[in-house]
Subunit: 399 residues, 4 copies
């Protein structure tokens, strides 16, 4: 039955999360133990411990691995609340890329691999990274262009290649590496994922990339694998199925991104609404002037829409659906809506909006990249249209 | 629990509705018994009878009055299916303004009034109109500008004034008239609704207005009340509460508009998608070119969004919530989304799109006005922003 | 030197045109001698005669052929003034498709052909049409898909094929027909234009298409050529060069479309601005509320931008430049801007906007198709991007 | 006569400027002598000297004061070329706020004041700031809210108050201060400007504000005047006329902002176009895919439009027109267009776009604030609409 009631248990968890964010996390937002690559380990650890003691750590991971075992709909509610502070997902260990990596491990990895990697990740004792994207002319949006190779040798798999935008690389313990294991990537087959200890000296950081956001511990890095040797038991799932598992990771990972950024957008919207109701010009609160009133309303609509679309996709995923179109559409809409919201919030704040007097300026820089990563809007739009056209083939449409 | 499952019973009714629309209604879309004011009585009667025999008549009205007694969520599903043809809601007796009038009568009218007016309306034996909007300088978006008056005299209420955009006036049997019964409209109080037999010679059609759409039997009319005398038992509900009842009518009526137009937008989208997959240019189906592919996807997103927003507002109304913000936001989003969809569909069809070779050209003209009636987007945006700002007063927003 | 001064002579002509439009043309806008295919011959003739007596007939045609011999910049000013009424360009004999056809004849046709066709056209004694577009799977946006053929035989050229959207066909005396004269259209070569007397019985009107606009005498028609025999001296210019001449026609024809529609958009904008300054709601003129104020300003910007872009492209064409990019960009911007303007005007007028109480409702239907004809925005955008990318090849761009 | 020819002399100066930017300025873009507040003095000095030796220093200032004496149209061409590097306007001494301050001094100041302040400014020996904007509840967009006061005493004027967003304050020698000299600001009268040596200890920097851009030497500061005593000869122009002079400054200053940012937007567009033509995905250059092709074209249109609008407004100013509407419309359009352009460029570059691998990421942060400063778009839109409505009063608009 069509129903939008948040279950009581989830509602309680949400309230606990909101209290944690307001009382424990937000007061640390200006903690000096942060730089352009997010919170330092000591700050992160502190927050993780507090989250753990409140029963808020690793909400997405199964209970047997130390998490809260939430389904996607529950996550929608909790992650949004967590995203109200940029430090929130770090504090609760449900931020990218770890959260997506943990999900994939939970679904695909074998028992030993889970014990080795998933358990410490879920306990927030280590961090991980996901090495898929490559610099031109390698694989970006088009997976068939994958250049990194893993060759089977007598000693094991020998990996060579270069990656970039490897988020969280510095300091990560686990590196999940996608490499070509066939001559050609065809129909999604031909690449394999490997679980590799990131301390291996055959993995080199070429450079840490400077980007406009600053929330990700470990930064985004350009890295190199030079004759990196890995053993058979480091293969994740089956050889050749790497892109299938990437889908296992990406569909929900895109959606959890939407959830967290929705919380962030809500924060920007709240700041702007509050300011618009207090700042006066030309005889009334600036938010009562049509120009800004419209922006407030449009942001409110964008927020409600994003939330409903997330919930719907989450429900589909909870039913076991692949929900490729819905996950892509959520990503397009939510990433673009969140940016519109924060852009309007900045405009509402006027001059103050472009300074660090409020969080809006930082949110503006943090949210913009989401229209690009996990597949830019353009690639998703194109893929969805193709599927749409396939869906009407042979259908009799009355004109 | 968050759930998007359409109940089995509703799903069955939806399928029956779709079959009816495809097999009984769409084949009559070119029936000559139509003009710029919709289907003639004989065609409408024919369709009503078929709908009735299939158990599809008056879905929104309570069973005791001959309807199907659907709740708002069920209506969301059924009305959308019905709107797939512009004749659908006429055929099923769930079109504006009757559907909204019937709802208001069911909620507000007394037993005698219901027997007199609701029963024949629910049986599709008569039609009704709703006389609220006035020409400048009377009441349009701003209800305090109401000029039509009802003065209490010894013989009863004496109504004088002028109205326009009275949809369905020609041929309507019931006229629901809003008139000022206090010196001033204040805080929503001071106007009263009257249930009047439209045959009264004191009601005059000044002119039937020509508008860009052509789906409404009875047209839109500019009318005049000249010493129209009505008795006490023709007062709907209580004296002075007219605008309160208008809200009872409008919140769901806006939403049912959204439902029907969503069905119409889906039709335009289907026609465009189908065409885009078949028409070739520059070496491939035109829908595979990025420019059109993006438009198809954006329309798909708009449709899904509209549906989810409608369902959510319907659920709120089913819980007994007033849902003023949500109803207004649905109206803004759905009316603008539906127009974007039909505009893109027209563009996709190229030259053919501006001709009557497909229904898209007509849908374009039918859907545009929805951004204006039931309160233009601008008025809703402004009202929502005011409420938003009120909602943050005294709230501590971390900046 | 950068200069935006309208020359005194042109300024005078503009004032004369404006006076003519206000005093002679606009009072005839409701003349009953019009239908969904524009003004009847008698009304058109009347207006042409008045224009002629005022020295306003055929402004785009060379003086030796009876016109005013304006350059493109002068036309920009005069056509805009003429377009303030939908009847204006008809009255002054500078409407599509005749205006473009006359231009092409003047540039390409030989002396005899000019005497035969250009002179009576310039005197507004006959009308013409241009037969290029074909129904699917023929040539629409993609000229290589041309299906109509002209085969050389001993008796002359034998033309067979089908066209649609042939504007002005009914009643036109001259039909300019594009047909394939090679096996393949390659690099713009392989098609030829023929000047044909439209009375030839081998030319058949299959049907007159119903479209949302209603300004074009002769309608848009789907027509057929069945063994249409034409002689060598009916070839326009050289065999095989048809698409080159189509470019001669299209670049300026697109721009004159922009000029005329700019005048029409200005009319809608004036009506809306005037209404917004007089209609009151919520305590002030509705145009003082931010929501509508913004729409007025945005329309003003769109108008100024359109005008400047037209002037700039006109200047380029006057310098003998091909101005393909600029002509395409003008077409994209002006067609989309004009539609935004009329859409906002409709919204500003509220309910009245969707009726024929003002011209806005009709302008809305007249202007929308311009985003499609003469190449839809999508095709132009794509072509421009290709040229842009070519223009940076080998260029050293500092990143 | 309508003409878009750049005069030969200006064309030559443009080429010299472009060469200077490419060869002298861009190679210094990564010079370490820069921080979040632009180039350090030594780097600036170096660039100024090179510009001077090439005859490129202070293009907007009259020749008698050491500048090039360009009119607004020439500036349009030269400033755009200069803005191609963010360091360009600094190098040529035509950046905000000095350029606007110099203009105002040249028009309003007396001979002595010019010798004292304009000459060293034009020689780039000192810098200046303009103290108008105040923190809430002081004067932002609404000048009547001015709180800083200047009281006439026996010893001179005594200034007290607080300002913020005082760009370039740190290190500026001249501070132009706007203060209230009447009880009320009415009809633009009641405020006065003072020319003050910024070293006065009664002027205090409360804090330097951190903002998202980083091109302005001296930063944006919040400052305080505590019993700042100034003498009569420090009054700029006449007492009470401060806002009139602010208009003298603002109309051209807004336009020169547009010119410089247009150059910056062109840079982003060039980088994106170049990348789109070289990066391949899904079998072709990414710019050939419709989705990105459209963005390239739309940016090209935005650039051309911005340029034409700037030229037109410059021409009006050169004719001695006040051009308030045109200057405001240029500001709205150019600031929004420039941001769209850089936003599209970022999207085109994909992941690389959000890093400092190209200048686009920085341009994104530099350009966004322009929609806010010099009056946010919202305030301009509102003001223009009011004037538009005034302009139709009493006008007979045919409906």
């Amino acid at each position: 039955m069509i129903d939008f009631t948040i279950p009581e248990k989830t509602e309680k968890l949400k309230e606990k999360t909101q209290k944690f964010i307001l009382e424990n996390v937000i007061p640390r937002e200006k903690d000096p133990r942060q730089d352009s690559h997010g919170p330092h380990d000591s700050l992160r650890k502190e927050l993780n411990n507090e989250a753990k003691s409140l029963g808020l750590l690793s909400p997405s991971v199964g209970k047997e691995w130390g998490g809260l075992g939430l389904n996607m709909r529950d996550m929608s509610v909790i992650f949004e609340a967590s995203g109200y502070s940029l430090l929130g997902p770090q504090a609760m260990n449900c931020s990218a890329p770890d959260e997506g990596n943990m999900h994939m491990l939970e679904v695909v990895a074998n028992k030993e691999q889970k014990e080795k990697w998933l358990r410490p990740l879920a306990e927030a004792n280590i961090r991980s990274c996901f090495s898929m994207t490559e610099p031109s002319p390698g694989a970006g949006s088009d997976p068939t262009m994958l250049k990194t190779t893993a060759k089977k040798t007598s000693k094991g798999w020998l990996i060579n290649g270069e990656k970039w935008f490897i988020t969280g690389f510095n300091g990560a313990k686990l590196n999940i590496i996608m490499a070509k294991t066939s001559d050609k990537i065809e129909k999604g087959f031909g690449a394999t994922m490997f679980l590799v200890d990131n301390d291996d000296p055959a993995i080199k950081n070429i450079r840490t990339q400077n980007s406009m956001e600053s929330s990700f511990p470990g930064g985004h890095c350009q890295i190199k694998f030079k004759d990196l040797l890995v053993s058979e038991d480091q293969v994740l799932g089956e050889v050749g199925q790497g892109y299938k598992y990437a889908q296992v990771r990406l569909a929900p990972a895109r959606l959890t991104h939407c959830m967290r950024w929705l919380g962030a957008a809500q924060r920007a919207h709240d700041i702007a609404t509050s300011y618009a109701s207090k700042r006066y010009a030309f005889g009334k609160a600036i938010g009562e002037h049509g120009g800004l009133a419209f922006q407030l309303t449009d942001s409110e609509i964008d927020i409600q829409m994003s939330r409903l679309f997330i919930w719907n996709t989450a429900w589909l995923l909870d039913q076991g659906e692949e929900a490729r179109n819905e996950s892509s559409m959520s990503k397009i809409f939510c990433s673009e809506a969140a940016f519109r919201i924060v852009d309007r919030a900045m405009q509402t704040l006027g001059g103050m909006g472009i300074t660090d007097d409020t969080l809006v300026e930082r949110l503006f820089r943090e949210i913009r990249p989401f229209r690009i990563y996990d597949g830019p809007s353009e690639v998703h739009r194109w893929a969805i249209a193709k599927r749409l056209m396939k869906s009407v083939v042979g259908k009799n449409v009355p004109t």
